[in-house]
Every structure is written in C-alpha cells, then in structure tokens.
C-alpha cells in the first residue's frame, strides 16, 4: 500500500477509536464527519471519485446533520455503562475477522488480470461512445444501460422519504392548512 494511503488509513483508525471512546455525543457526531471525509479522500486516491463524492455529501454532510437532529431530541452525554460487556466485543471482532478473511480472495488493487476487467469492461470501453455518444462511461452505464435499475432505486428512495415524512409530520400539510385559515 502506498505510504499516503497507509497514513490516511491510520488516521481513519485513530478517528474511529476516538469516536468509540468519547462520551460527549456531539463530539462523536463531529468525528464521524471527519471519518467520512477521510474515507472520501481515500476513495479519491483510489480513483473512485464518484463514490468519494457520495461519501463526502452523505457521510460528512447529511448524516452529521441527521445525528445532530437526533441529538437535539435526546441528551448530549452518553449514559454510563455499569460494566463492560464481553459478548458484543466478541461478535464485532468475529465479524471483522470474517470480513478480513473474505478480502484475501479479492484480486489485488489495480490488478489488470482481475476477472472484472475481462468480462464486460473491454466491450463497454470500446463501444459506449459510438453507441450512445456519452463520453463518460460510468454515467452512460448508470443512466442508460442500467437506466431501469437506477429508476427503480430512485423510486425506492422517494417512497422511503415520503413514508418517513408522512410518519413524522404529515409533510406539514395540516399545520400549513391551519395557518392558512388563521391568516385569511
């Protein structure tokens, strides 16, 4: 692993350990934002700029704000644990070990002989531009070749958003209607 990536990984590890140790939840929410920014930086260095941008916008932007919104409804301090629990730590360590074991079978980063670079990618790289005249291949695949898939994702996210909004406050329709009557 190149030294800069290694340093960023170490910083990420330090951030996560600090988040786990902090009792001040506001500070923990801020530090999760830092962790997202670090992850975004790593993604950029690995040439996945679109993934990195999603990580920065959602991880550092939206979810920090959502955490703070949740904090405004609860307390800012973590409750004291009476005793350390062994079972959750064991489960987390086992899951992490299983995930790391899973990465052993993955091809090395940037390996030109990896299966994924020989299945569909050469044809897509060669033919995308003349087929649908979009220079950015990733965008072409997401918005055209996999257009129905992306459309389905958008519908799912929209439905979830409408559902949550209805559950939380009825989209403010009642309140706004009440205000209208008062004013008129």
């Amino acid at each position: 692993m190149p030294p800069v990536e290694l340093l960023l990984m170490l910083l990420l590890l330090a951030t996560v350990v600090v988040v786990a140790r902090l009792k001040d939840l506001f500070a923990a929410a801020m530090l999760t934002g830092i962790a997202s920014l670090l992850a975004a930086g790593l993604f950029v260095l690995m040439d996945a700029v679109d993934v990195a941008f999603t990580e920065a916008a959602v991880g550092a932007g939206v979810s920090t704000v959502l955490f703070l919104g949740a904090l405004s409804l609860t307390s800012r301090r973590e409750k004291q644990q009476e005793r350390t629990r062994i079972l959750p730590i064991l489960i987390v360590v086992a899951t992490g070990a299983a995930l790391i074991y899973g990465t052993w079978d993955m091809p090395a980063y940037g390996d030109p002989d990896a299966v994924i670079h020989h299945h569909l990618a050469p044809e897509l790289i060669a033919e995308t531009e003349e087929k649908i005249h979009i220079p950015n291949i990733v965008t072409a695949i997401l918005a055209s070749f996999r257009g129905y898939d992306t459309f389905g994702e958008v519908v799912v996210i929209f439905t979830a958003g409408v559902g949550v909004a209805l559950l939380l406050g009825g989209l403010g329709l009642r309140r706004r209607a009440g205000h209208g009557e008062e004013e008129s």
Binding site: L7, L11, L31, A40, V49, A56, G61, S72
Partner: protein, 92 residues
C-alpha cells in the same frame, strides 16, 4: 514533491483530528471539522495536480461547497438547537 506535500497535509489533518477529539468547547470541534474538510479539499487538489489529473480540482471545489453548507448547518444547530425553526433567539 508529491510525498512531501501529502505528508504535510496528513500532519495537519492529524492536528485537526486532535483538536476535534480534545475540544474542549463545541466551537473548537466545529472549527476542527471545518478545517479537516479544507484539508480534504487540499489533499484532492494536490493529488490531482501532482499525479497529472488537474480535473480533480472541480471535484475539490464541490467538496468546498459541501463543507461550507455542512458547517453552516452544524453552527445553526449549535446556536438554536434545531435546524428548521427560529423559536429561540440567540443569546448575544
């Protein structure tokens, strides 16, 4: 040159992280996160220019926007306790 620039940015990132972890006030932490975002922008810009991908600068500019908006939202939360309403006046 690439390594020196990146190392300098990573060291600054470490300092910002330390400030965010230690605090002690809310505004120290907010400023630390904002600074960390700026360092991420710098990291992308340096990586882009020194590895021959200057188009990453556009990306870095969008990160600046996200960082700015996020900081505004967090500051608003720290002052008013919520994001939408203005029912509590700030104490001057």
């Amino acid at each position: 040159m690439y390594l020196a620039g990146m190392a300098a940015i990573v060291v600054t990132m470490f300092l910002a992280l330390a400030r965010a972890a230690i605090g002690p006030t809310v505004f120290d932490r907010i400023l630390a996160v904002n600074m960390f975002g700026t360092k991420t922008v710098l990291l992308i810009a340096v990586a882009g220019f020194l590895t021959g991908r200057p188009e990453w600068l556009d990306l870095a500019i969008v990160y600046t926007l996200v960082n700015f908006t996020g900081t505004l939202a967090v500051l608003r939360f720290a002052r008013f306790g919520n994001l939408a309403r203005d029912d509590r006046k700030p104490d001057r």
